[in-house]
Amino acid sequence: MIAADLAPLAVVLPFLGAAVTFLLIRHSRAQRAVSITTLSVTLLIEVVMLLAAPAAGTHAVKLGGWEPPFGIVLVVDQFSALMLVVSSAVSLSVLIYAAGQGMADGDEDGPVSIFHPTYLILVAGVSNAFLTGDLFNLYVGFEILLTASYVLMTLGGTAPRIRAGVTYVVVSVVSSMLFLIAIAMIYGATGTVNMADLAVKLEDVDPATQMVLHLMLLVAFGIKAAVFPLSFWLPDSYPTAPAPVTAVFAGLLTKVGVYAMVRVETLLFPGDRINSLLMVVALLTMVVGILGALAQSEIKRLLSFTLVSHIGYMVFGLAISTRIGLGAAVYYVAHHITVQTSLFLVTGLIERRGGTANMDRLGGLARLSPLLGVLFFLPAMNLAGIPPFSGFLGKLGLIQAGVDLGTPLAYLLVAGGVATSLLTLLVMARVWNRAFWRSPADADDPDPILLASKADGTSIGTSRHVTGEDTGKFAGKDPVTLLPRTMTGPTIGLVVLGLALTVLAGPLFALSDDAAQEMLDRTPYIEAVLGPGADR
């Protein structure tokens, strides 16, 4: 038995944790302990798998002992192992943050009671999507994470959340339907849903049909990954959810779509038939997305647009689809999960400290809480691609790949990528100028919390008595800790993880590169599942 054989536990353990937290529905403290323990153990197992992955090569786990292509397999290769570790690390941080928020606000009962099982199921769904080697099971993985996300998105049932939830649910259901239709068509053409088996059999399918099936899958995944023009729903739905929920959605869900696109492009439909199309899509996603961010003043909404925009970078790498390009895309996915999530968590802190996430109404945060300043500035610069942070390194790889390709379209894409980087910097620096630098009194309509705290000059970690007229939100829950350690702690952890991506960039990039090479080769994957010699 090797480490990769533990792969099913990445799904089973969170499910088990969910079962236990269901049973403990009225004991929020016990729920917290169970879910944090579960995710920690899961993360540990995944780290072991990742460390073993380069040596072990691609490995398939046959569930229930059924032989592929009849049963379902989980496939552990370097890409999936990396995604598992990054996503679990991020979701663990967010979980601790959310638990901390619950503790700080004294929310011992309430909708939070179903938060834990739902959250664990979400994580299990994401892990399942990363691991599965079966196209239909990928659909199941999507359903798991989507259903969990429906519940999380409408947590608390306020009117704006219900409204955003309707957009989100309907679009997601449509994308799932398109995916399901595509699976049916693919089964119709090949008679199988095992991905390795498909990789072999699809080659013999009529090229035109291949193209149709290929595009259908891409449209389905394109909605989930939020690429242009299938991305409009995202900024209208994500920002209304509670901060930790938005954070984990932003970090993980779209990346699962990207992950699926990568597998489709490399395993199922290799070759460069639609690379030019992907390049155009990448360019439009980047540019239109970041222009959207430029037009926002609400930080959460603004971040949703940068989220969409930076999906374009991943599609960029995928479209170039050389070893270096794909490797950079893999690295960029890991980077973006971490950084985008950190930014949303920090925005949650901004909302607590400043009373609002609208930059028109914010000011002076850098002086109110230098820690908050650092926590925002580092990931913001990271996102904007300022060296030596990981965002820069990923973009560097993409630019190298684009220059290597050297076609006019590739250069256009490089130019678009660079312009997006500059605009991201502009957007982030504007947030900094307004929310962090200017004095609170200069804001259009400064939030009472902001002005009140200027007077008594509180700093990090202190409690403050919030009176009824201070703000409705925290009324009756005093004293409220504005920046509790339980919330800043995981945020710091995540920001540090983002920095670690730079420090460990050498081995990580090597891993991404190898992962890209494995995927481009296809043989390791196919043979791991179907046995040696299966890839003719």
Partner: protein, 998 residues
């Protein structure tokens, strides 16, 4: 090298702590870092200068270097190399850096805010500049380059409460990053083309590279864009004067001595080897000259001393870029000489302005008066520095300018372009002298009519830094030997037969000396005529400022952003869906047409007439659902399509699917009906007809294209489907005759595992929307509930009306004193009860539960299974609820829904994981055969346990739905009328006033 670099960054990291302990004196500690590094540099210097500058790293006689691999995949290395050019820059960076930090200790007050962060940023900036010049890797150099940009942003924004400071900081950031990114692309192009990112190797190979043509030309041009923006050349010059919003030490260091020199450094770095590429000289000369003249011209118009210097710096940067970019040994010597001279005198002058501002509280040269007399030492220091700037002998500035004139005089011999350049440089130098003089006059002269400016005594420690720099301007002017030795090794890099000229105070008689004389004379005249000249400047039409262009570009960008976002983010779900479905139609359709996909040659419409009937019913159902204007009707019609699908399955010989589909459809209908009670009966207004047509077209197109694709996909099938093997596998290995069930609970149990979790979640999700304040999972027993108290309606209705009479009648018949049939039927209001329904329920409930268990157990071999069984039990519960109300439901379910969901999920998860402990695969099943009394030989497949989990979860799901959509909404609507009990909880659900009463 690396130690020095790391030490500086590390000290910057802990700087805030130092400041909180020591106050402003911590600047002394910070200053020690670059000072120590400076000493280290002096120790290394002889070796560096003696080295062969062109030798590859590691070769004997090469300059000191260090390479640490970082990211091999990106060919990115931590490569450093301390060659002569780097050393020259290091002298400015470390020397001036130490002095400026030292000066800060007096410039700032102890109670100034954020000094800790400021000190840290300033020191980190020094470290970044140090790294920038040492980097021997293109990308590593870019990394430090951008770090200096970011730190400059933070430093300019120190006075964050001022809008101008914030705006200038952002402007500088965007402009320089714009150039930086262009440069990055250029560097990558260069690196990829050269096959290496090692700067020293690229330069060694420069001639071959430069000969490759357009790609390298473009790459170098892009790199120059970086230099141009960083060194504030036209048309990007405007950020520099605006950046004067920074504290004066920052201006002295970043915007005079160090950061803006980065662009010049870059030009100097690439000049040996790439100065002959196509875009080099046009860019350098045109922009450099324009900058020099514009800066000088503008400097003469400023009234703020700092802005005089700022425009002067702009001018000098243009000048420097031209000289350094000239190519050739004479340009190299003159350029580096001027670079050092400028670093010394400009930093001095800025520091002097800082002192004046600090002591006098103003920098306006129209206000300042008599400072020279009050503070003679300060005056002397400024005079020396300004003299050096103006090119007055015997100061360093003069020495450098002499060699510049010599170098360009040389070029002037080649043709008209050279002569033009020389002329331009002389004009620029005249302007320089004039504004230098104006600066001294403005800062120190006693002006007529104004009072003497109050000027406290300047402390010696405050004055020390500028004084040291001024002394350097004098000493090296008189004795330029050491500097000459410093710049010669770099000049030797240029391939040339001519011997490099030397920096010297006395060049002998010749054109350069004449030009120097002309400069001084004309500059002096211009200074004396400053009044008429100012008037002349004012009368000229003002040019359109580049800054205005920048602003309008950003403005246009914002407008475009708003426009595009407005077009795409409409906030309308219908629009988003339209785009998505249109994409889903157009892309495969295009592929179908372009690539000519195969279509089946012959096909049958239907296999049997029954299919036609069923499909016809489905279509009618769909159309009716679309046309219906009542919610309930629409749901019912959608239900018809579902039952139709069940029929299709049945006709295809799939009883399991048909059974499950029927049950699902039924339970969904119940849920819908319960939920619809709290919504208005009518649907909202329909879309306008134009949109309806468009949507109809899209809908039909989508359906049509999917049908075509399905046919095409089937037509291209070329392998037998794996499903053909399933029945045999199910029987042999799965131990069941029902292939569908074995597939669900064994072969593809992983799918089922996921899907039932989805079910559990769906139940939770619904409940969470209804129970906003949290699940209350304890059951409410019927014991304490009064008879007939639930859902009484007669108070609400007119007792004499028709409906009132009907209710009264119903109540009379239903008013049974006890409850012979259902446990909690008595709790319902009499008019809500139906005896017949209660009796039927009593009769079929247990039968259905037994049936459900049968389906569960028999499922492995016969139609059925945990899912169908669970649904059957769920429907039984639904019937109990409909007949006996919410207390009946509570009595019927001994365990809470949450516990059922949890327990079911736990059973399933444990079944999945248990085989791991036995050394098997996750979800592996085992066939156990044993003998039991009564049953005899039993063949038990462990996957049945999994199926039991499924059963429990499905029951839990139905229970949860009934509890939330049923019981809870009942309770709410009762609570709403007549007494408002719980107002807050009903924000979500509007009062249920109409709809169907179960």
């Amino acid at each position: 090298m690396l130690t020095v670099l790391i030490a500086m960054f590390a000290l910057a990291l802990v700087a805030p702590v130092l400041f909180s302990r020591l106050g402003r004196s911590a600047f002394f500690v910070l200053a020690a870092a670059p000072a120590a590094a400076f000493v280290w540099l002096l120790v290394e210097l002889p070796g560096v200068l003696a080295a062969d500058q062109a030798a590859p790293n590691g070769a004997p006689g090469a300059p000191p270097s260090l390479v640490i691999p970082w990211i091999p995949s990106l060919q990115l290395e931590l490569a450093f190399r301390l060659d002569a050019l780097a050393a020259v820059l290091c002298i400015l960076i470390l020397g001036v850096g130490a002095l400026v930090l030292f000066y800060c200790a007096r410039y700032f007050k102890n109670d100034d805010p954020d000094v800790g962060a400021f000190g840290a940023q300033l020191l980190a900036f020094a470290a970044a500049m140090f790294g920038l010049v040492l980097a021997d890797d293109l990308i590593l150099m870019f990394i430090f380059w951008e770090l200096t940009t970011i730190l400059s942003y933070l430093l300019i924004g120190y006075s964050r409460h001022r809008l101008s400071a914030r705006r200038s900081a952002l402007q500088a950031l965007i402009i320089t990053t714009f150039g930086g990114l262009a440069m990055l692309v250029g560097l990558v192009m260069l690196g990829q083309e050269a096959g290496t990112y090692r700067l020293s190797e690229i330069l060694a190979d420069a001639d071959a590279l430069a000969a490759r043509g357009t790609l390298v030309d473009v790459a170098i041009a892009l790199v120059l864009v970086g230099a141009v923006t960083k060194s504030a050349l036209v048309p990007f010059h405007f950020w520099l004067p605006a950046a004067m919003a920074a504290p004066t030490p920052v201006s002295a260091y970043l915007h005079a001595a160090a950061m803006v020199k980065a662009g010049v450094f870059l030009v100097a770095r690439f000049a040996p080897g790439f100065s002959e590429t196509a875009f080099w000289h046009p860019v350098i000369f045109v922009l450099g000259m324009a900058t020099m003249l514009l800066g000088g011209w503008r400097a003469l118009r400023q009234f703020d001393l700092k802005l005089v210097l700022a425009y002067g710096t702009v001018s000098q940067l243009g000048f420097l870029t031209m000289v350094v970019g000239l190519g050739g040994r004479d340009g190299a010597v003159a350029g580096l000489g001027l670079l050092l001279a400028h670093g010394f005198f400009k930093a001095t002058l800025f520091l002097v302005v800082g002192i004046i501002d600090h002591q006098a509280g103003t920098r306006d040269l129209r206000v300042l008066s008599g400072v020279g007399a009050t503070s003679p030492v300060l005056f002397a220091v400024a005079l020396v520095a300004a003299g050096s700037m103006g090119g007055v002998p015997p100061l360093l500035g003069f020495v450098a300018k002499e060699s510049v004139f010599e170098a360009f005089a040389h070029r002037a011999e080649d043709g008209a372009a050279g002569t033009l350049l020389l002329g331009g440089i002389v004009v620029g130098s005249v302007l320089t002298f004039a504004y230098s003089a104006r600066f001294v006059w403005g800062a120190f002269a006693l002006k007529h009519g104004g009072p003497r400016t109050a000027f406290p005594r300047v402390r010696t420690s405050f004055l020390l830094a500028p004084a040291v720099l001024a002394v350097a301007s004098v000493v090296f002017g008189v004795w330029p030997g050491p500097l000459d030795a410093l710049v010669q090794p770099y000049a030797a890099l240029f391939a040339s037969d001519d011997a490099a000229p030397h920096l010297a105070l006395w060049h002998g008689f010749g054109l350069p000396l004449l030009l120097s004389g002309v400069t001084l004379a004309a500059g002096g005249a211009l200074y004396l005529l400053r009044r008429p000249f100012e008037q002349f400047q004012e009368r000229l039409p003002s040019m359109r400022e580049a800054e205005v262009v920048y602003r309008s570009v950003i403005g246009v960008l914002d407008d475009v952003a708003v426009w595009i976002t407005g077009r795409t983010q409409r906030g309308s779900l219908a629009f988003y869906l339209f785009v998505i479905l249109a994409t889903a139609v157009v892309t495969p359709l295009t592929a179908l047409i372009i690539f000519d996909a195969p279509l089946p040659t012959s096909f049958r419409i239907a296999q049997s007439p029954a299919q036609v009937v069923v499909v016809g019913a489905i279509i009618v159902g769909i159309i009716a659902a679309l046309r219906s204007n009542k919610r309930f009707m629409a749901v019912l019609m959608v239900g018809i399509t579902g039952y139709g699908m069940a029929a299709v399955f049945a006709l295809h010989g799939a009883p399991d699917l048909a059974l499950t589909q029927m049950l699902v459809e039924t339970i969904v209908l119940v849920a819908f009906v319960l939920a619809l009670r709290s919504l208005p009966a009518r649907l909202w207004n329909r879309a306008e007809s134009r949109h309806r047509l468009l949507r109809a077209v899209l809908g039909i197109a989508f359906g049509g294209i999917m049908a075509v694709i399905a046919m095409s996909a089937m037509a291209s099938r070329n392998a037998a489907p794996i499903s053909l093997a399933y029945p045999q596998m199910a029987y042999d290995d799965g131990g069941g005759a029902n292939a569908v069930n074995v597939l669900l609970v064994d072969i593809r149990a992983w799918d089922t595992f996921g899907e039932i979790t989805v079910l559990a979640l769906a139940a939770t999700g619904i409940a969470s929307l209804i129970f906003i304040r949290g699940r209350s999972d304890h059951r409410r027993r019927a014991d304490g509930v009064e008879d007939g108290s639930v859902d009484r309606g007669q108070e609400l209705l007119d007792a004499r009306g028709r409906s009132g009479a009907a209710l009264a009648l119903a109540a009379r018949f239903a008013d049974v004193p006890r409850d012979p049939w259902l446990v909690a039927g008595r709790t319902l209001a009499p008019e809500r009860r139906s005896i017949v329904f209660e009796v039927v329920t009593r009769l079929i409930f247990h039968t259905m539960i037994v049936l459900s268990i049968y389906l569960l157990v028999a499922g492995h071999n016969l139609p059925g299974g945990g899912f169908a069984g669970g649904l059957t039990a769920g429907i039984a519960l639904a019937i109990r609820y409909l007949a006996g109300g919410r207390f009946e439901l509570a009595e019927a379910s001994p365990v809470s829904a949450g516990a059922l969901l949890g327990a079911g999920l736990a059973i399933v998860s444990l079944t999945a994981a248990a085989p791991l402990l036995l050394g098997g695969a996750v979800l592996e099943s085992y066939i156990l055969e044993f003998w039991l009394p009564v049953f005899g030989d039993v063949k038990f497949v462990t996957s049945t346990i999994f199926d039991i989990g499924v059963y429990i979860i499905v029951v839990g799901l139905v229970l949860d739905v009934l509890r939330s959509l049923g019981s809870e909404i009942d309770e709410r609507s009762e609570a709403d009328d007549p007494v408002e009990e719980d107002a807050g909880a009903d924000a979500l659900v509007p009062p249920a006033t109409e709809g169907v009463r179960p």
